[in-house]
C-alpha cells in the first residue's frame, strides 16, 4: 500500500471499513461480465455487512457466470471529506471502480432516514442525482421495505423493485444485457422494464394532485398497478453457501439462518408484517445443511435464527434443540433473537445453553390490554407476567421491555400503564430473581407506515411526544430502571418520509445539499436543518381520510386495501384478529392475489 493511501486511511475513523479484500469476496474478470451491479447500502460498512438481504443478492447475482455484484457502503463524513477534497469518486470494495461505471446501482432501502445517504452516494459516485439528467447506464434501482412507498425518491431512481429481490434480479439483468447488446435508448429500456413483474418505473407515471397528495398516474401504457414479487417456496429458494466475512466486528458476526419469511400475527402497526406476507418456513433439514456449509466457509462461532418471529416457527423446539447442541463441541453456540412474550419462549431461551444471562427482551408494545387489542398485539397481562417470572426464576435479572407511545386512541392512562407495568415487572423480579433485577424500558414513538391498517393515522405532535416521555420519566425514576427513547424530531421525519408523495423530492434534495447525512444516527441528525427544508411539517399531525387516494395505491403488497380498512375499523372496537396460520383465513387477499401459499413444516404449533 503506497504512502498516500496509507496516510489517508490513517486519518479516518475505522479505516478497515474502506479496505475490502474480505474472505469469500467474489471478483470477476471485467470482460467476462455482461452486466455489473453495484449493491449499495446507504449506511456504514458494519451495518450493511450485517444485512441478510445484501448477502443473498450478492451471492445470487454472482452465481451467474455473466453477472457480477460488488458492494459499496456509505462513507462516514471524514471519508466523504477526503474523497471530495481530492476529487475522488466513491467506488466498490471489489474492483474499486466508481459507481458511475456500473450498469446497475442498486440501493437497499431499509428505512426512510437513509434517503440523504442515498443521494450522497450517488453524488460521490459520479452520478447525476435526478433521473432526467442521466444518460445511458447505470440504472439506479431501489428495493427493500422503502420501495413500497417509492414516491419521495421518485425523482432520483430509475426503477424500484417491489417485493423480494431474488425473483427479479435475473430477468432484470437479462433485459439490461439485451439493451447493452442492441444499443437501446434509455427510454426504450425503461419502458420494457416497466412491464416486467414487480418493476416500477416512476418516470412513466405523472404525479397528479388528488386531494392532499400527488398520486402517480400511468403514462405511455405503463401498468396501473405494480404487484409485489415473492419467493414462493423459501425451502427451494437460493441461499448463499458462503458469506463474506468482515475483518472488523459487524453488528451480527454469525451464521444467519433465515428460518422463515413473513409473519401473519397481524400487528396493525407493523409494516414488515403486512408487506412480507404470507408466512413461508424453511425446514429443519434444509437449515441443518445450510448451517453446516456456512460454518465451514465462514469460521463463525455463532448461529442465529432469523425471521420476523422466529419462535413462531412450527419446528422451533427441534431447531433450538438441534442448533444449541450440534456444534457445542467446537464452541459454536446459538443466538435467539426476538422472543415472543410467553413462558414457552423463556423455556426455549433457557435451553440455549451458550446464552450468557445478560438480558431477555420482550415487546408488549402497549401498557393496557385495551390498547394492545387496538394494535392487535395478541398477548395478555397474565402471559407477560408469567413470562417474566419464568425468566427471573431461570436466573435472568435484566429484562428489556419495548413499548410504543403515540398509538391510535392512546390516552394518558395508557402511557401511565407502561410505567405501572414496568414497576410490576420489577417487583416480580425482586421476589423471584437471584439478584436485584434491572428493567430497561425502551419507548419508541409510533410511526404510521404505508400498507398497514394504521396508514391513515396521525403522528403525535412533538410537544405531545415530549410530554408523554416526561410522564414516563417521572414514573420510572431510580436505578432499577433504565428508560430510553428516540428523539421525537427524527421519528416525525420518518413519518413524513414514510407516507410522503413525489413533492418531497426537492426537500430531500435540499436536506442533502445542506449537509444532512446519517439521519438515523441520533448524534448526526440535525432537526433544525430538516425543519428548514420541510415547510409545514409535511402534514403528519393530521390523519388521512379513509377514502383519500394514497401515493402508494398503485403498489400492491397483495393485501387488499379493504382488508386494511376493515382492520382499522376493528382496531377502533378493540377487537383482535387471530393469526391466520392457526385459525381461519381473514381474507387479507394476499395468497389469492399473489398465487402464494402459507408454507409450514411442523405439525401442531405450540
Amino acid at each position: 500500500m503506497n504512502w498516500e493511501k496509507w496516510q489517508e486511511l490513517m486519518a479516518v475513523e475505522k479505516p478497515i471499513r474502506y479496505v475490502g479484500r474480505e474472505w469469500n469476496i467474489i471478483q470477476k474478470e471485467p470482460d467476462e461480465v455482461r452486466v455489473a451491479w453495484a449493491l449499495s447500502f446507504p449506511d456504514v460498512y458494519e451495518v450493511g455487512m450485517s444485512h441478510l438481504g445484501l448477502k443473498i443478492l450478492y451471492h445470487l447475482i454472482n452465481s451467474h457466470p455473466h453477472l457480477a455484484a460488488e458492494r459499496v457502503f456509505a462513507p462516514w463524513r471524514d471519508r466523504e471529506q477526503q474523497l471530495r477534497a481530492r476529487g475522488g469518486l466513491l467506488h466498490t470494495l471489489e474492483s474499486r471502480r466508481p459507481l458511475c461505471e456500473f450498469d446497475i446501482v442498486g440501493f437497499s432501502l431499509q428505512h426512510e432516514l437513509s434517503y440523504t445517504n442515498v443521494l450522497n452516494m450517488l453524488d460521490l459516485g459520479g452520478i447525476p442525482l435526478r433521473g432526467e439528467e442521466r444518460k445511458g447506464l447505470p440504472l439506479i434501482v431501489g428495493g427493500g421495505p422503502g420501495a413500497f412507498n417509492p414516491e419521495p425518491l421518485a425523482d432520483f431512481f430509475d426503477c424500484f423493485f417491489i417485493g423480494e429481490g431474488e425473483e427479479m434480479v435475473e430477468p432484470f439483468s437479462r433485459t439490461v444485457a439485451r439493451a447493452k447488446n442492441e444499443n437501446w435508448s434509455r427510454g426504450k429500456l425503461l419502458k420494457r422494464l416497466a412491464h416486467q413483474p414487480g418493476i416500477y418505473v416512476p418516470s412513466l407515471y405523472r404525479a397528479e394532485q388528488k386531494g392532499q397528495f400527488f398520486c402517480p398516474v400511468p403514462r405511455d401504457n405503463a401498468p396501473a398497478r405494480v404487484e409485489k414479487q415473492l419467493v414462493h417456496s423459501l425451502e427451494e429458494s437460493f441461499f448463499p453457501e458462503k458469506f463474506v466475512v468482515p475483518y472488523t466486528t459487524a453488528v451480527h458476526d454469525r451464521v444467519i439462518l433465515e428460518v422463515a419469511r413473513g409473519c401473519s400475527r397481524g400487528c396493525r402497526f407493523c409494516h414488515a408484517g403486512m408487506i412480507y406476507r404470507p408466512v413461508r418456513e424453511r425446514s429443519l433439514e434444509k437449515l441443518k445443511e445450510q448451517a453446516h456449509r456456512l460454518l465451514r466457509t465462514t469460521g463463525y462461532s455463532e448461529i442465529s435464527l432469523l425471521s420476523l418471529s422466529t419462535t413462531d416457527h412450527s419446528q422451533i423446539e427441534d431447531l433450538v434443540q438441534y442448533f444449541s447442541g450440534a456444534y457445542q463441541e467446537i464452541g459454536v453456540g446459538l443466538a435467539l433473537p426476538s422472543l415472543r412474550l410467553d413462558s414457552f419462549c423463556v423455556e426455549l431461551a433457557r435451553q440455549v445453553q451458550t446464552v450468557r444471562k445478560t438480558g431477555l427482551t420482550f415487546a408488549p408494545e402497549a401498557g393496557t390490554q385495551r390498547l394492545r387489542n387496538v394494535i392487535n398485539k395478541g398477548i395478555n397481562h397474565e402471559d407477560l407476567m408469567e413470562a417474566v417470572s419464568a425468566a427471573f426464576r431461570s436466573g435472568w435479572t435484566s429484562v428489556k421491555l419495548y413499548f410504543m407511545i403515540g398509538l391510535p386512541t392512546e390516552t394518558d392512562e395508557d402511557v401511565q400503564a407502561i410505567g405501572e407495568l414496568a414497576r410490576e415487572v420489577w417487583k416480580r423480579g425482586k421476589e423471584t430473581a437471584p439478584r436485584r433485577p434491572r428493567i430497561t424500558v425502551s419507548v419508541a414513538t409510533f410511526v404510521p407506515k404505508p400498507h398497514t391498517p394504521f396508514q391513515w393515522e396521525p403522528v403525535l405532535p412533538l410537544s405531545e411526544i415530549t410530554r408523554k416521555q416526561k410522564l414516563l420519566q417521572k414514573m420510572l425514576r431510580g436505578k432499577q430502571f433504565e428508560l430510553s427513547w428516540h428523539g421525537g424530531e427524527s421519528t416525525r421525519l420518518e413519518g413524513i418520509l414514510a407516507r410522503g408523495d413525489r413533492s418531497l423530492g426537492p426537500s430531500i434534495y435540499q436536506a442533502w445539499k445542506s449537509g444532512a447525512r446519517f439521519d438515523s444516527w441520533s448524534e448526526e441528525f440535525d432537526p433544525d436543518l430538516w425543519s428548514e427544508v420541510l415547510n409545514e411539517g409535511g402534514g403528519v399531525d393530521r390523519g388521512i381520510a379513509l377514502d383519500q387516494n394514497l401515493p402508494w395505491d398503485h403498489i400492491s403488497t397483495g393485501v387488499e386495501k379493504s382488508f386494511l380498512q376493515k382492520e382499522r375499523h376493528r382496531s377502533r372496537e378493540a377487537s383482535t384478529t387471530a393469526d391466520c396460520r392457526g385459525a381461519r383465513c381473514h381474507g387479507c387477499g394476499c395468497c389469492g392475489n399473489l398465487k402464494a401459499l402459507v408454507q409450514i413444516f411442523g405439525g401442531e404449533r405450540p
Binding site: M1, W3, W6, Q7, L9, M10, P15, I16, V19, G20, R21, W23, V245, Y247, T248, T249, D253, L295, R296, T297, T298, G299, Y300, S301, I330, G331, T354, R356
Partner: protein, 224 residues
C-alpha cells in the same frame, strides 16, 4: 499439544485492530478445521494468546501467537491448512510445536525491532534528527501525563537517512509487560524535536520480538 505461529500483517490489513486480528485468526483456524482446545466453563473460549499488540496502522513481519490444541497433529500439515484459509497479507511464516510448559509468549517478550518512517517536511529535518540523536535524555510526556525518558527504552537506534521524503529509523526497544516503548510515542517525540521539519503519522513495521535468554536476546523460535 501447544503450537506457536509466526505470521505477517501487511498491506491493507495493517488497519486491523488487535481484536479484529484475533477474530480473523480464529475464524481462519475454524475454517481450517484446526482442533483447538476450549476453556472450561459456561462460555468456552479458544485458548489462544498473542505476543504483543500492534497499533492500528502498523505492519509486522513477526506476529506471534500460541494456541493449545486438543489433540496431537503433525505441525507441517497445520501450516498449509491454516495458510489456505488466510489472506496473503497474513501469511504464516512458521508454525511449530512448543513444550506444554512453555510460558505464554506474552509473558516472556522483552524487546522488539521496528522500522519507522516519518514524513520529512523541510530541509531542516536532517539537522534536527542529528541533534535529537545525541541528546542525553528523550523526555516525553505520555498519554497519562507521566514524564518518561524514552532513551532508556530504546536500546539501539540506527538513522537510515532521508530517502524519498521519508526519514527512516531502525530501532530495538523495550517491549512487553514490564517496560514497553510505544512506537507511536517515539514518533511523536521526534516530530516535536524536529520543530516542524517532520510530520506525522509515522509508519511502523515490526520485524522481530525477543526474549531475554542466558546468552542475550533470543527470538521466540529459538525455544526455551
Amino acid at each position: 499439544m501447544k503450537i506457536r505461529v509466526r505470521h505477517r500483517k501487511l498491506g491493507p490489513l495493517v488497519f486491523l485492530s488487535q481484536l479484529d486480528l484475533l477474530n480473523t485468526m480464529l475464524q481462519a483456524l475454524r475454517r481450517a478445521g484446526i482442533p483447538f482446545a476450549l476453556s472450561e466453563g459456561f462460555n468456552p473460549k479458544p485458548r489462544i494468546s498473542y505476543g504483543l499488540p500492534l497499533p492500528v496502522g502498523a505492519g509486522s513481519l513477526a506476529e506471534y501467537f500460541d494456541l493449545i490444541l486438543k489433540e496431537v497433529v503433525a505441525p507441517g500439515q497445520l501450516k498449509e491448512k491454516l495458510q489456505a484459509q488466510l489472506p496473503e497479507f497474513l501469511r504464516v511464516e512458521k508454525l511449530w510445536e512448543i513444550a506444554d510448559r512453555e510460558p505464554a509468549i506474552q509473558a516472556r517478550v522483552c524487546a522488539a525491532d521496528y522500522y519507522i518512517w516519518m514524513p520529512v517536511l523541510d530541509a531542516g529535518a536532517q539537522e534536527h534528527i542529528e541533534d535529537f540523536l545525541v541528546q542525553k535524555q528523550w523526555n516525553f510526556l505520555d498519554r497519562r501525563g507521566r514524564e518518561k525518558d524514552l532513551k532508556k527504552l530504546v536500546w539501539e537506534i540506527e538513522f537510515l537517512k532521508i530517502k524519498q521524503g521519508l526519514a527512516g529509523f531502525k530501532i530495538t526497544a523495550a517491549a512487553g509487560s514490564r517496560e514497553n516503548l510505544r512506537p507511536g510515542d517515539f514518533c511523536e517525540l521526534i516530530k516535536k524535536s524536529a520543530k516542524g521539519s517532520i510530520g506525522s503519522p509515522g509508519r511502523i513495521l515490526r520485524c522481530e520480538l525477543y526474549y531475554r535468554g542466558s546468552g542475550g536476546l533470543l527470538t521466540p523460535f529459538s525455544g526455551g
